[in-house]
């Protein structure tokens, strides 16, 4: 285990003594869940409203020039046109016609300037919010939200991940928060194996069996570190909660028109399932799409990829708006970086963290705005350069979490939840 004493102390940074005392006192209480880590008033407010997040991760790097920040008819602009949106004066790529119709719900930031141009560093750095190095591994945004907002009243796991490929419990996402706050991943949206109760067991037999498990777990945990034992129990609890909600994996319940509207492709199916998860009350739903690393054949690649994202993204934004859920759900669509303006010999674009874009919608976010600007060629940020730390502050603010007043408690060490030197982007917040 890491030597806690070697870690920096809060007074070296910007956390106040009051926050330190509050966080430390909460940790001393030693209870599980939300309260130890948050000031009581914040926790109560969060529980009352139960904010949620839909986090759409386009792995590999969507090109900003073929999506949210087109530069048509310029040196690096590529072949595609820009189209008008539902907000006069805002134009996006012609590859996003359906999202253009939802622009009045969206906020686009076009001036992200992050640091890493490699996937290996970039993905983690971006999803952990790149806080200052304090010798600990910070949680991914999903784990952070799972910790800070909790599971709500749904009884469902607070952080689920719908992804292509295999599923499982992704405990590493949680960093120092401990494995309990990892992601429960549903490979291709499928439930964990053996979720149904074996036919030889009755529910009452299962209850007896479960009480025995809990008792054994209790004995086991008395002799071990809590972060490990609680994760072990937590996985069982999650499984039991999911056993009661197998409808979350039943794709036959969807209206055929919705299936067509979202698209029968991978991201369409997964986004429709994400809607169901959000409706069921899951706090943080991540939807992944892979294959966006278009170093070669970028333009045909984006001509194939972006319209499928567009279809699914616009459909869920429209549905969340129709259901009034955008009042509580924060929607974020992004990658680890954008793509180079320069077009390489494979007619591809490489990694570009210098000037890229993401799109947001929903709770706490201004509607129908573009924040930040790149220059005419799209090579660099012209106005309002922001890093991922700014975005974490902004997202926490949108979720009514005060990122200046809230701190994690890492075994007695209070840690800021977002980069100390950055702040929320007010122009993005409603």
């Amino acid at each position: 285990m890491m030597d806690q004493s070697a870690l920096c102390r809060p007074w070296e940074h910007t956390i106040s003594r009051r926050q330190f005392v509050a966080a430390g006192a909460a940790a001393t209480a030693g209870t599980l869940g939300l309260a130890p880590f948050l000031q009581t008033s914040i926790a109560e407010e969060v529980q009352k409203q139960h904010k949620q997040v839909l986090f759409i991760w386009l792995d590999g790097g969507m090109s900003q020039l073929e999506s949210w920040d087109p530069k048509p008819n310029s040196q690096f602009g590529g072949p595609f046109r820009a189209i008008a949106t539902s907000v006069p004066g805002i134009h996006i790529s012609e590859l996003l016609p359906r999202s253009a119709e939802q622009m009045h719900h969206l906020a686009i930031i076009r001036s992200l300037c992050t640091q890493d141009n490699s996937h290996s560093a970039g993905v983690a750095r971006i999803q952990r919010g790149d806080p200052k190095d304090r010798g600990v591994t910070y949680p991914y945004f999903g784990s952070a939200v799972a910790k800070l907002l909790g599971p709500g009243k749904s009884g469902l796991p607070p952080y689920v991940w719908i992804k292509p490929g295999s599923g499982g419990f992704m405990y590493k996402d949680a960093g120092f928060l401990g494995p309990k706050y990892g992601a429960l991943a549903f490979g291709d949206g499928q439930p964990p194996e053996n979720l149904t109760l074996h036919e030889s067991l009755t529910p009452s037999q299962d209850d007896v069996r479960n009480r025995l498990r809990e008792a054994a777990n209790q004995r086991y945990s008395n002799r071990r570190r809590k972060s490990v034992t609680e994760a072990n129990s937590y996985v069982y609890d999650m499984a039991r909660s999911l056993m009661k909600r197998q409808d979350l994996f039943d794709s036959t319940q969807f209206d055929a028109r919705d299936v067509q509207r979202y698209g029968t492709h991978e991201i369409g199916r997964h986004m429709l399932q994400a809607r169901l998860m959000l409706e069921a009350g899951v706090t943080f739903v991540k939807v992944n799409s892979y294959g966006w690393d278009t170093h070669g054949d970028n333009f045909n690649g984006h001509a194939s990829l972006v319209p499928k994202f567009d279809q699914a993204f616009a459909a869920i934004v429209a549905d969340l708006a129709d259901r009034g859920m955008l009042d509580n759900v924060l929607v974020i669509a992004m990658s680890e970086f954008g793509r180079t303006p320069r077009i390489n010999g494979h007619v591809g674009r490489d990694h570009w963290p210098e000037a890229w874009s993401l799109a947001m919608a929903g709770t706490g976010v201004k509607k129908g705005v573009v924040v930040g600007e790149t220059n005419d060629k799209g090579t660099f940020v012209k106005d309002g350069e922001f890093d991922i730390g700014h975005m974490f502050h902004t997202w926490f603010a949108a979720l009514d979490i005060d990122s200046r007043e809230t701190a994690y408690n890492n075994a007695g060490q209070p840690l800021p939840i977002a980069h100390d030197d950055m702040q929320a982007i007010k122009d993005l917040l409603s």
Binding site: R81, P164, G291, H295, G296, A303, S304, L305, G345
Partner: protein, 354 residues
């Protein structure tokens, strides 16, 4: 072939180089071999006069938007037709100095025009676009002669058969259709689906090059046998079909998956296949291979990322449009002047004396 050493007989000897900044998609010879045209990323059609010892650049043909990927000369060389990625097609009179615009259709297609081709007597112009439409146009006006043909997939390539009565279209899923030029009806369907793969969310590959031999008996279809999407890797491949029956006669693969795409094909009158390939930045090939043999008799790998090949048989001129070395890289690349640099297209000019 009548020589024991075709590699020497048909060896291209480089005699010139022109560099297009920014990049171009393709460079093509005028039917008389006296001019070179190249369409590129800056909405221009570039022209070079080749009549003298050194190529001399002529005024570019402007008025386009986005990319000029598709262009084609009329068979007699008096005209050139150009199209852009915003849907515009223009006809130009090359007998005028400078070239003169004779017609313009702003919305010929909804978006990216992928390819153009003129029939043997110069009266009809084929166009295809990202809007999944194929149009047969009157070359004197640019107007469609009948309602556009609607395709279920995006069409990347169009080529008239030398007989002028039929044409071939190749789509993004690796299907080639032989179409009756008068009615627009499909006569035959040719399966080149080996050149397509659905990988993750992406449709990868498709028909990237299409050509007939001089008598129209053989149809060559080029692209890649895709391994993956994203950065796209695959084996550069040409499939040769008997045009009349649609039967596949040969499959020619050209090296490692990093070489990726066959971007252009010419079927030489001596019976061999000339191709260029482009893949991972830095990887490029010029290859000559007899269909019945299992490896090329000529292979040149020193030019990175070869995107087009134009061979003018009467004069033996060969033009290959490529991309400069060091064209890729993540993150900033700033030159000494502090400017962010783009790439360019060296167009290599060769002569084959055979």
């Amino acid at each position: 072939m009548d020589t024991p050493d075709p590699a020497k007989k048909f060896e291209p000897k480089e005699y010139g180089l022109v560099t297009a900044v920014p990049q171009v998609h393709a460079a093509r010879f005028h039917p008389q071999g006296t001019m070179l045209a190249a369409g590129g990323f800056d909405a221009r059609l570039r022209l070079w006069d080749l009549a003298g010892e050194e190529p001399v650049e002529l005024p570019s043909l402007a008025g386009h938007h986005g990319w000029v990927q598709a262009f084609t000369f009329s068979p007699d060389g008096s005209r050139i037709y150009s199209a852009d990625s915003w849907g515009q097609i223009r006809g130009w009179d090359l007998t005028n100095d400078p070239a003169k615009l004779i017609w313009n259709i702003d919305d010929a297609h909804d978006g990216w025009v992928r390819d153009l081709h003129v029939n043997a007597d110069g009266t009809h112009l084929l166009s295809c676009g990202r809007d999944r439409r194929i149009c047969v146009r009157d070359t004197s006006t640019g107007e469609c002669l009948f309602d556009p043909i609607l395709h279920t997939n995006e069409v990347f390539c169009v080529r008239y058969h030398p007989n002028g009565k039929t044409f071939a279209i190749g789509d993004d899923r690796g299907t080639v259709l032989i179409i009756d030029g008068a009615s627009g009806k499909t006569l035959r369907r040719i399966d080149a689906s080996a050149l397509y793969r659905a990988h993750r969310l992406q449709d990868v590959g498709g028909v990237r090059a299409l050509t007939f031999n001089a008598d129209g008996t053989t149809l060559a279809v080029g692209g890649t046998v895709p391994k993956n999407g994203g950065s796209v890797q695959g084996t550069p491949t040409v499939l040769l079909f008997d045009e009349a029956s649609g039967e596949q006669k040969h499959t020619l693969g050209f090296g490692a998956t990093t070489h990726c795409y066959v971007h252009d094909i010419h079927l030489h009158s001596s019976g061999f296949v000339m191709v260029v390939t482009s893949g991972t930045p830095g990887q490029g090939q010029i290859i000559f291979q007899r269909p019945e043999e299992d490896k090329p008799f000529f292979q040149h790998t020193k030019i990175p990322n070869c995107h087009s090949l134009s061979f003018h048989e009467p004069t033996g001129q060969l033009a290959v449009a490529a991309t400069n070395r060091g064209s890729n890289g993540n993150g900033r690349r700033i030159n000494k002047e502090g400017e962010y640099e783009g790439n360019n297209s060296p167009i290599h000019l060769f002569r084959i004396d055979a």
